[in-house]
């Protein structure tokens, strides 16, 4: 009890906003899990319609939802630790292309369940960038979680839902992010979302139906790596991405 009060008293307004956003976001996977479990128990009890063939599918869905909820909490805790330490992460040379590919593999299960086709677009070779390996992975995972949900919620029922994890080079550095058919997303929406998250149920209504906590956890992690999320375009798609500086350190090796 005393420890709880201590945490509450010490929490910064930013931390509290992130916590509110995460709490709102966690309602979604927990509700999905609760209702799916209830459906299966109803099925056994009432036996009106048999979904026994779906048991494996539903259990896989529950597992994926639980896994993503836990990863969201993990990313939040990592973000919290960073905020406690003046919001900075140790930077090191990291292969952004490899991290992006790993992230795509981990998001694959969730994307498939939401009917979203994930694509990795890493054209060419990229030097390592200055980032934090654990932080970059957690940030991309959180960003992906938020955008998969957004992509599924915004598409017309019969539309093919695609989401690209992409890395490309610009005059300002190496840009890594996720892009899709988010035509209505404008830079002003993101700036407004940064003011609204944790205070409004929908921080970025032009993009997503829920609190989009994953996006703001990702932003906190990117900020701790001396960069930030921006609205960007790649291959005629719109999305959210961050710019990293190539590592000069490894080029000397």
């Amino acid at each position: 009890m005393i420890e709880g009060l201590q945490v509450q008293r010490d929490a910064s307004p930013e931390t509290m906003r992130l916590l509110c956003s995460v709490a709102e976001q966690l309602k979604v996977p927990l509700t999905v899990i609760a209702r799916q479990a209830e459906l299966m128990s109803m099925d056994r009890r009432v036996g009106v319609v048999s979904y026994q063939g779906d048991v494996g599918k539903v259990m896989a869905s529950i597992s994926t939802q639980t896994d993503m909820a836990l990863r969201l909490v993990d990313s939040y805790l990592l973000g919290l630790q960073l905020l406690d330490k003046q919001g900075a992460l140790a930077l090191e040379p990291v292969s952004v292309a490899a991290t992006l590919t790993d992230t795509a593999h981990e998001l694959h299960g969730l994307a498939r369940q939401y009917g979203v086709a994930l694509e990795v677009q890493v054209a060419g070779k990229y030097a390592p960038v200055m980032a934090n390996a654990r932080g970059l992975h957690a940030a991309l995972l959180s960003l992906g979680y938020g955008l998969i949900e957004a992509r599924a919620a915004s598409a017309a029922n019969d539309a093919v839902r695609r989401l690209s994890l992409a890395v490309h080079r610009t005059p300002y550095g190496i840009v890594a992010g996720l892009y899709g058919e988010f035509g209505a997303l404008a830079p002003a929406d993101w700036r407004r979302a940064l003011q609204w998250y944790g205070r409004a149920p929908q921080a970025i209504p032009s993009l997503a139906a829920g609190s989009s906590a994953g996006l703001f956890i990702a932003d906190a992690l990117f900020s701790a790596m001396a960069t930030a999320i921006r609205v960007g375009r790649f291959n005629k798609q719109t999305g959210l991405a961050a710019t990293f500086q190539p590592s000069r350190q490894l080029q000397l090796v």
């Binding site: 709102e24 309602k27 979604v28 927990l30 509700t31 999905v32 609760a34 209702r35 799916q36 209830e38 459906l39 109803m42 099925d43 009432v46 009106v48 319609v49 979904y51 779906d54 869905s61 939802q65 369940q113 939401y114 009917g115 949900e149 957004a150 599924a152 919620a153 915004s154 598409a155 017309a156 029922n157 209505a184 149920p201 929908q202 209504p205 032009s206 993009l207 997503a208 139906a209 829920g210």
Partner: protein, 128 residues
């Protein structure tokens, strides 16, 4: 049996609700956005609409105003089932029920499938 239009942005949750409603003998159609919901209402003429207020682009209240602007959908009962807490809707409860034809407001995280089915049954076509 009723024709039900479910307006739900989360496709996983929508599948679960649709299966439960189908097991109770209803025909279901699903839309993730307000625009898709208007199109689906036009195509399927639902007897009841179950609506999440938090949608991307146009929200559920905008959908309701659009829906009620058409003569043929003036009386279609709408059940709100949302992540928006009931306390947050208290201030607009009168508008929702009196002007927009909302027959029930359910808080999604605490609404079981059984509760949803019984609410639908209560307002289904021909219910006593």
């Amino acid at each position: 049996m009723s024709v039900i239009l479910l307006v739900e942005p989360d496709v996983m949750l929508a599948q679960t609700y649709c299966k439960a409603l189908q097991s109770a003998g209803h025909e279901t159609h699903h839309a993730t956005t307000a625009q898709a919901a208007i199109d689906a209402a036009d195509e399927h003429t639902p007897d009841i609409i179950i609506l999440e207020l938090q949608l991307s682009a146009h929200n559920g209240v905008e959908f309701l105003y659009e829906l009620r602007s058409y003569a043929e959908w003036q009386l279609t009962p709408v059940i709100i089932q949302s992540y928006t807490a009931p306390a947050a809707l208290a201030a607009v409860a009168g508008t929702l029920t009196a002007n927009l034809g909302v027959v029930a407001v359910l808080y999604k995280p605490r609404t079981s499938l059984q509760k949803l089915l019984s609410t639908v049954q209560e307002h289904a076509k021909g219910a006593a």
